[in-house]
Point group: C2
């Protein structure tokens, strides 16, 4: 078994209070798979343009990441520019160039389908998320991420996808946009009342994240000692860590998801310590395990 992740591959221009970078590699697929590759052999479904270097494919492959589904299309790679006024706030989008993403239809390579049943649909057009869901028959566990833009512009398509998934990861603002409610608790109830989703993860940035089920809530802290540099990719690496942890768990239940979220938080805490993928690309297993163990101790309070 392995994990399929469908999402974006991008060149990012990023500005934070700690500095600026231009055209660095990013995208949800990349952050997710670089986080997942410590425990899993994640399989990417995404698209890049001719301007995307072959060397990066090699680097990803060396890290156990399967790039057969990372299509090279005619045109330029998707690019995004964002500015974080403060490191704890959402970024202001400076530009979004869809480029090759405009005509992208994700197709799952046959080699992926054979053994793979865990799928993560990162934040992309819900139409594409539905394409993937429709094209795969046997799915063990499906996670989905989305954002304001799709909630406001493609709600019907998003709703269709939300009816087919097991786990949803969003932030508080996105949750209140979906529910159209101000109360956090009522917004959570709205999700369980309207979709057959089993697990809802609400990401709260440096305050950690909440795991909600129909019956329970758990608060998972983030690593409090990270040297925050660039928050880009934190959510996707968190998800990559979590899903790779679940792939290796005997059972996917509240307990394994809690522990997987701590593992995901540990990885995300490295992601944010450098611009782009620099830190997780070079992260060593033993560094990660040390921090995971430290975060487990910090989390165990009862």
């Amino acid at each position: 078994m392995s994990i399929i992740v469908v999402g974006s591959t991008a060149f990012d221009d990023i500005e934070t209070p700690k500095g600026k970078r231009k055209r660095i590699i990013g995208g949800s697929c990349i952050y997710f798979s670089l986080a997942a590759c410590f425990k899993s052999k994640p399989k990417i479904v995404s698209v890049v343009g001719k301007d995307f270097s072959k060397k990066i494919f090699d680097k990803l492959n060396k890290k156990n990441i399967d790039t057969e589904g990372l299509v090279v299309a005619n045109g330029k790679t998707f690019s995004w520019g964002g500015k974080y006024k403060s490191i704890s706030e959402d970024p202001e989008t400076k530009f979004t160039n869809l480029n090759v993403f405009e005509n992208f239809k994700p197709s799952i390579p046959d080699s992926y389908v054979r053994n793979n049943k865990i799928i993560f649909l990162a934040n992309i057009d819900p139409d594409l998320q539905n394409n993937v869901l429709d094209s795969m028959k046997k799915k063990k566990f499906i996670g989905l991420d989305t954002m304001n833009f799709w909630i406001l512009s493609k709600r019907k398509s998003l709703d269709r996808a939300l009816n087919k998934i097991d786990l949803l990861t969003i932030n508080e603002l996105e949750l209140s946009l979906i529910s159209n409610k101000k109360s956090f608790k009522k917004s959570i109830q709205y999700i369980f009342n309207n979709y057959p989703i089993k697990y809802l993860i609400v990401k709260k940035g440096s305050a950690g994240s909440i795991l909600a089920t129909k019956k329970s809530f758990k608060w998972i802290p983030c690593f409090p000692f990270a040297n925050m540099t660039d928050p880009t990719g934190a959510g996707d690496s968190f998800a990559g860590g979590l899903f790779s942890f679940l792939e290796k768990s005997k059972k996917i239940d509240e307990n394994s998801i809690c522990l997987g979220m701590i593992y995901g938080s540990a990885i995300a805490s490295f992601t944010i310590e450098s611009f782009g993928i620099n830190k997780i690309m070079n992260l060593k297993s033993n560094e990660l395990n040390l921090r995971f163990n430290e975060l487990k101790k910090i989390s165990k309070i009862l």
Copy 2:
């Protein structure tokens, strides 16, 4: 045994995104003791002016709060005005009128000294905090809170107090001001390297709080479903809950402090749901216990 709390009693003008209030009762002593009175009979040491209504003394006394040390002096009660631009940020101080606080010398009533050994020195002039520490011989456990203003203006006096206490509660900004370091972890180490403090609680607002000892860190969440209205007094009610919990604990150690912090967070989550003391003044034991139990479940993730 009971708890002595030394701090301010005030009239507050408060503005938050949820509204405005003028001359409502506040002050660290009041928030602390209203939180502590569910488990303890807290004893206040503070001062008010002639403009402070006798009715409020009666209300406090009815709630098991001992006001023998709440001196009525000639002059006006201390008053403070603050504006919260956003509910998660520190307030901007609009005015501070020390009034009767200017010449206040806390004196501990004999009746207080007899049985009391747990002391909380809320955020007041460190000279006054030292006066109290010097005047009491047998002390079981001492907590202290402070703020930017004292850290910058009375560091020597504050240092003298920090050498005599068991537990310090501050926020991240105050911690970095004391340590003069940017790294959160190094700032924590600075405290343990420079003072004989056993427990450091770093308050992180809606992100919860961190308990640090020389050897360990724990992250205590706050109640995620509170309807944030006015953050004033959250830290003092958190401390009041914690210290009353410790008074009733067999042992004061990391475990009881963690559990006491969850209890304190539960109370603080009510404080912030109304302007001033409105909500905790009328809070019922069973409401508090329900939320404490809910927060324990949310916190138990391993």
